[in-house]
Structure formats: C-alpha cells, structure tokens
Symmetry: C2
Subunit: 250 residues, 2 copies
C-alpha cells in the first residue's frame, strides 16, 4: 500500500541538473533507436500512460522522452471530455480504439483512469460503479498484456500542490503559456484532497503497478521517466529481423 503523502515530489538531493539533462538526452536517443527496432520487429508494443493533475507535465514529458522517435512508430493521444457518442458506450470503448498495434508506442495523455478519478471526485458515479470500473480496468490491462504483447507503463505524475499553483499561475502571467490556461483547472485544484485520495486508491488497487513519478522539476521528471521506459525496452531484447528470422510477407 502506497501513501502518496510519503512519496517525494522533488528530485533527490545532490543531483547535478546539467549532468542529468545530458543523461536524459542520451537515454532518449537510445529509446529512439530501440523504437526503430520495435517497429521493424512488429512483435512487442508499448502503452505509456501519463496521468496526473493539471500542469503536472504530461505533454512536456511526452516531448522529451520520445524526442528521437520516428512519428511513424509513435502515437500520442490526449483524452479529453468524452463526446456524446462516447458517453453512450461503456467507458473503455473509446480507450480501446487507441491501443497500440504491434510494433508501436502509444502514449496516453490522461487515460481510462479519468473514469475513476474526476468522475469519482465529483460523485458523478457511485462507489459500486467505481469498483466495477476498477475490476474492468484490471481485466482489460491484463488482456492487453497477455493477448497483444503490450508492455504497460503507467506514470502517476506526482506534483506538489504548491508547484501546481506556480505552474497554473505561469499560464496566466506568461503570454507564451496563456493558451494553456483554463479556469476549470483552478476549480479542480480546489478538490486536491479528494483527488489525492482517489488517485491513491486507484494506484493501490491496480494490478499493473503504477510508477509514482516526482515531477516538481522538469529535468528530473524527464530523467526518471526515460530511465523507466528505457529499462523496459531493453528488457525485451529486441532484434532487427533478418532473412533468418523473418516470416514471409504476403
């Protein structure tokens, strides 16, 4: 059982920022290289979930960690408020359309977890539905891993409420960031305690482990995520297919 309050949102002491940034860039290059092999092999695939409060750096992490990937082999999908058609289906219907094909990296910016977070916090659904959905998510993720060879990496973007306020304020003060500003984000931030408790519960009841990621500093966030992604990619021991290993084409 994890308790979010006990997990730091900041980088450990003693790290040298410029050194870490260099290492991140090196890892990102390696991720780009392995993505090429993944695409060629068409065997494995990656589902990378970035889930967290507003301004927790989901977009920024996507850009940095996957900077050297070929657009042909990676898709990033930002989930927003469901459409009327999507609401008319079960909550996994629209998610399922976005799962990675073999050989691909798929990034979820927000995800199916919204359906047990924002909806729970606002009490748009009852607790029985929350339980059903958590069961459904666990089964669905298992299905992807087992039947689609998917590696699922779920990053909870762990930001402190103070740092979030700073970043939301930047979206007002900095004209270059004003396009990101949304009044609604401040209202959601007022429900911090309720969100933390919903996140904590979702994390603790998930079969696929969440990676709680300290995101208060961008440079450490990118380093931390790149390291996890790279570790999982290396573990697959992927190889460029050759005539000796290729299946015949049609």
């Amino acid at each position: 059982m994890i308790k979010l309050k006990e997990i730091p949102t900041k980088a450990p002491k003693g790290l040298e920022k410029e050194d870490i940034k260099r290492k991140t860039d090196r890892m990102a290059r390696r991720i780009g290289h392995l993505q090429h092999i993944m695409y060629a092999e068409k065997k494995h695939n990656f589902l990378v979930v970035f889930q967290g409060m507003d301004a927790s750096g989901k977009d920024g992490a996507t850009r940095k960690v996957f900077a050297y990937c070929n657009p042909t082999g990676i898709k990033a999908f930002p989930f927003r408020k469901p459409t009327e058609e999507e609401f008319a289906h079960d909550f996994l219907w629209r998610i399922n359309k976005q799962v990675p094909a073999k050989g691909m990296i798929q990034v979820f910016i927000r995800s199916h977890y919204e359906d047990v977070l924002i909806q729970r916090v606002h009490k748009w659904i009852d607790e029985e539905t929350v339980n059903d959905r958590i069961t459904a998510i666990n089964e669905w993720e298992k299905h992807l891993e087992r039947d689609n060879d998917t590696t699922i990496l779920k990053f909870y973007m762990h930001i402190s409420p103070e740092r979030q306020k700073e970043k939301l304020q930047e979206r007002i003060d900095d004209p270059g960031k004003q396009w990101k500003h949304n009044d609604a984000d401040w209202k959601e931030a007022d429900l911090w305690k309720e969100y933390m408790s919903a996140y904590e519960d979702a994390i603790n009841r998930s079969d696929v482990p969440w990676i709680v990621t300290p995101v208060d500093q961008r440079w450490y966030r990118d380093y931390f995520i790149a390291e996890q992604v790279l570790k999982e990619m290396e573990a697959l021991q992927m190889k460029l297919p050759t005539f000796a290993t290729l299946k015949p084409k049609d």
Copy 2:
C-alpha cells in the same frame, strides 16, 4: 506540363553535404517550434503527402524533417493495401479518416494517389475510373483547403531507377535492412515506365501542385523537403494565442 525525365533526381552540383545537413537540422528545429504554435493556435493544419516508388525515402524524410515535433501534434500514417472493409467503400473513405484536425500535422506515407497509380498500372481499373478518381481527388483536396484550413503539400519522391535498385539491393545485403525487403517491390520496379507515365499524368492533372523532389541523396532530399515545409509554415504567420486573442473555453 512537367516531364519527369527532364527533372533531376540528384542534388545540384557544388553543395557541401555537411553544410546542408547542418542547415536541415536548423530548419527542422524551427519546424518543431512552429508546430508547437500550430498546435496551440488550433487554426491551421498541414497535410504532407510523401508519394513515390519503393525505397524512395518516404519514411526517412518523415523522421528527419519532423524530428523536433511533439508526438502529440503530429501523426504519420502509412497507407498499405486496403482491407476488405475499405475496398467495400469508395477509395477516399479510408483516406478521409486520417485527415489532420485543426492544429495538427498529418503525414501520409503513400496516399490516395495509390488509387490512380498502382491500380492504373496493373489495369485493375479502367481509364474512365481513373478520370473520375482524379476529379474526385481534386475536389476533395479543394474541400480540405477551403473547409478545414488545411495546407496540402504533396511531395513526389523523384528517384532514379538506378538508385532505387541500389537501395532495394541494400535491403538484401545489409542485415539491418532486411526487414524492409519485399520481393513484390522488385516486380513493381519492372513496371518503371508504366509507373512514370502514371505519375506524370497524375502530377500534371492535379490542381494542388506537386513538389517534385530529388531524392537520390538522402541529405539533399531532407534539406529540400524541410525548406518547402518551413516556407509554408512561416507563411501562415502563426502566433501563440494570448488572453487577448483566445476564444473562451468550455
């Protein structure tokens, strides 16, 4: 009226490769920067078509020119042989699903033009159907430009038959490229003359002008394409929206 035979497939004399590569990288960075603004503005969008014979560098160009774009704002879609469901619809049905949303860059690797190229060369369709399709394409592209604010950039990847043979042979000789090898590519290459005549006709009858791109050398190909893409992006004079220009959010 263009005649492909009269257009070079190679870089002009006197260019210095390393210098050109540096310039390409600088342009690619600027493209990444403008893509960020396009995404923020959600007004314009780009449809970039890479169409050409096998091994003409469609994938490579995608990777180089859009190297600094955020995966959230760019999608690359490689069109392959249509599925049974797709064949059961008109030829633009599957294409239409992949058009860029406002704020996005969409790359087509192969495109709707396959339907007046491979299908025409193999005589799977009659000449009347070819004419109908060319009319349909012109109307459909105009519709995108007019009703979706789309900038359409169509690159014909102009490769010499000798260079193509070399690159197809590399896919046999180099184990790192064997995964790209496909016997069928050699058979299509035997129809070179028929393909060139179909390409030439498609290019000459297109309302949206094609950009005939010399691709025999990768470094010049990427430079040439980046320059065109950047020119069109700059022309839009995009600006990050600020509170003064933003529409209210819902």
